[in-house]
Each structure stands twice: as C-alpha cells, then as structure tokens.
C-alpha cells in the first residue's frame, strides 16, 4: 500500500524540517491527500520517489510554521512515563541532543534546511536532491556548503574529540 510504504519517510521529512510533530502531521496529511488526488497524473517520466520527494519538499517550503507545541509536549511526557525507567535517562539525553541539532537546523534558511533534511534524513545524493528540488547539482552543493558552515559553528559543542564519546 502506497501509504504504508512512504508514511515514515514523509512524516520524518516534515518533522526534521519543521521541528514540530504537529506541523509534521499537517505536512504528511497534506502530502498524502495530494498524492491520492494526483496519483493519476504521475506519468512515470521520473522515479516515483523523486516525484514524492518533490511534493514533500514543496509542501515543507510552503508550510507556514505553526506554533502548536502543547500536544507534542504532552505526548512526549506520556511516552516517557510509559517506558521502562532505565531507558528514560538515555532517552532524555538523546532527546536533548536531538533538540539541539533540530533547533540549529531549524534556524537555517528554508532552501538550505530542506537540502540538509533530504541529505541526512533520507540520505539522498546530490543528484537526487537536485531532482527533487528541481535545481542543479551545483545549487545543491552550494546550499549544503553554506548550511555546513553554520552547523559546524553552532554545533561545535557537540563535536567529538578524538577518543571522546560525544556524537
């Protein structure tokens, strides 16, 4: 089933792009509604995945970020309570680091942010990103370089020293 095959992918891109579970749900919902409505228009001229990535990327770039953090916070709290106690501390630590990374990524300009998300959430190559965003490989490279410069500077406190245990 189309939805089952791509649900995590679509939701993850929405989440990593927006940093907000509620917004990610909105994005995923919109993308799948559009997908179901437009699937008949898919001509097979490009790979289905590229077509889908383009749809998700466009939706992310269009989406006005909404500040709806109450429900995600409640859900995070409930998730923490449901888990076994020994895993909670690790999870909190990981969640804290993840939040750090997500915040810095969230501060990038939209065009750089979507490139970073497609690269690191989905592991796409430069060519695949270029196809999804309908731009050149060189544009992808320059956006990623600029994003890397910001991320290196602002995430330097998470840098792993040789033999260290961070990251």
């Amino acid at each position: 089933m189309l939805f089952e095959a791509h649900r995590d992918k679509v939701y993850s891109i929405g989440l990593r792009y927006s940093g907000d579970a509620a917004v990610a749900m909105d994005i995923a919902q919109d993308v799948f509604l559009k997908l179901f409505a437009c699937i008949k228009d898919f001509r097979g001229q490009s790979r289905f995945e590229s077509w889908l990535y383009r749809m998700v990327a466009n939706r992310c770039l269009d989406h006005q970020r909404q500040r709806r953090r109450l429900m995600p916070l409640v859900e995070d709290l409930l998730d923490g309570i449901r888990r076994r106690p020994e895993s909670v501390l690790d999870d909190l630590l990981r969640a804290e680091l993840e939040r750090d990374v997500q915040n810095v990524v969230g501060s990038l300009p939209p065009e750089q942010r979507i490139v970073v998300v497609l690269r690191y959430t989905e592991g796409l190559s430069y060519d695949e990103i270029a196809e999804a965003l309908n731009c050149s490989r060189g544009t992808v490279g320059s956006r990623l370089n600029r994003a890397h410069a910001v991320l290196e500077r602002r995430l330097s406190h998470l840098r792993v020293e040789r033999g260290g245990n961070r990251a």
Binding site: D8, K9, S12, V101, V105, Y120, T121, A149, L158
Partner: protein
C-alpha cells in the same frame, strides 16, 4: 598560514544520527481518512449548491423567455374604473382589494397587473400629476393580520386584513396615503 580544514568526520555522523528517520504516529492514517471524508462531503455540498443555482437559472430562463418569446405579457387591466379594476384583481389573483371610489386630486387610478411569483400579488398603478405611484398588494403571512405602516428605503409598507401593501413613491408620501385614506367604493 595554516587554514584549519573543516572536520567532516564529526558533522556528518552527528546529523545522520539526530536527523534520522522516525516512525510516523499511528493516528496519521485515521487523520488522513477523516480529512478525505471531510473534503468529499464539502465538495459534494458545493456541487449540490452549484447544481441548485444552475437549476434556478435554467428554471428562471425557461419560465420567463418562452412567455416573452410568444409575446404574452402578464395579465393586466388598464382602466381607471375602480369597480372594474377591483373585480379584475379578484379574478386574477384570488383576493379582494377594496379600492377607493374617489381619490384626492391629482391622483387617479390607471390600472393593475398581475405580479408573477409564488405568492399571488398584484401591482396597482396610479398617476399623480407627472409621477407614477405603484401599490403592491400581496397575501401577508398568516400570523400577521395587521401591522402598522413603516417606511424604508423610499417604500411604505403596512399589513391590513391579511394583505400586505407596499407603496413605492419616494417623492409624494402624502399622495400615497390618499390611496387608502379616502372614500371606498364598498
């Protein structure tokens, strides 16, 4: 001068680890289904309204143009005789409109014509000097037998004996009053 090279060995794994794919919530499908259902209902509703509007337009055109095309005007009575006009009104629309036998000068009765619509109505025409006065009479709602007159937007309306009267005469309100406040033929 030594320029430090970016350490690519720490950023890539860090981003890969903390920006990785996550599992989507179980409720996502339910939400999408609900949105699809809502969208279908909304579009069905819009279609129903569009269809209704289209039917109204077609119905209006069908109702008006064939008559006009055949040159058939709505039934009318061109007469200054209040007895004749009163009898014609009763036969045309099915209710009695008492008309004054004498009108204050310079107002004079010039005729009446049927007004098409769901409720039977008649438009009684008067002439006052160089102006026309139109009195529209229709059946009032059953719950309203009498209602004091009021003026709105150049129109005076009142309800009497279960009939609604409206006079369109923005220029000569006094003459309009004379249409009813005069001797009646009956």
């Amino acid at each position: 001068m030594h320029k430090p090279e970016p350490d690519e060995h720490w950023l890539d794994p860090l981003l890969t680890r903390y920006l990785g794919r996550v599992q989507s919530p179980q409720g996502l499908w339910t939400r999408i289904e609900a949105a699809r259902h809502e969208r279908r209902n909304r579009s069905a509703g819009q279609m129903a309204w569009t269809l209704a509007a289209a039917l109204m337009v077609v119905g209006s055109l069908w109702g008006v143009y064939p008559r006009a095309g055949r040159g058939v005007a709505y039934a009318s009575c061109n007469s200054g005789d209040p007895v004749l006009v009163r009898a014609w009104i009763e036969s045309a629309v099915g209710f009695d409109v008492p008309l004054p036998g004498a009108l204050p000068a310079p107002v004079r009765l010039s005729g009446a014509r049927e007004v098409p619509g769901a409720n039977p109505a008649v438009l009684i025409s008067y002439r006052s000097a160089d102006r026309d006065i139109a009195l529209l009479v229709s059946k009032a709602e059953q719950s309203v037998a009498h209602e004091r007159g009021h003026r709105f937007n150049g129109k005076t309306s009142w309800t009497l004996r279960g009939q609604r009267y409206s006079v369109a005469n923005p220029d000569d309100f006094r003459a309009a009053c004379g249409l009813c406040h005069a001797d009646r033929t009956s």
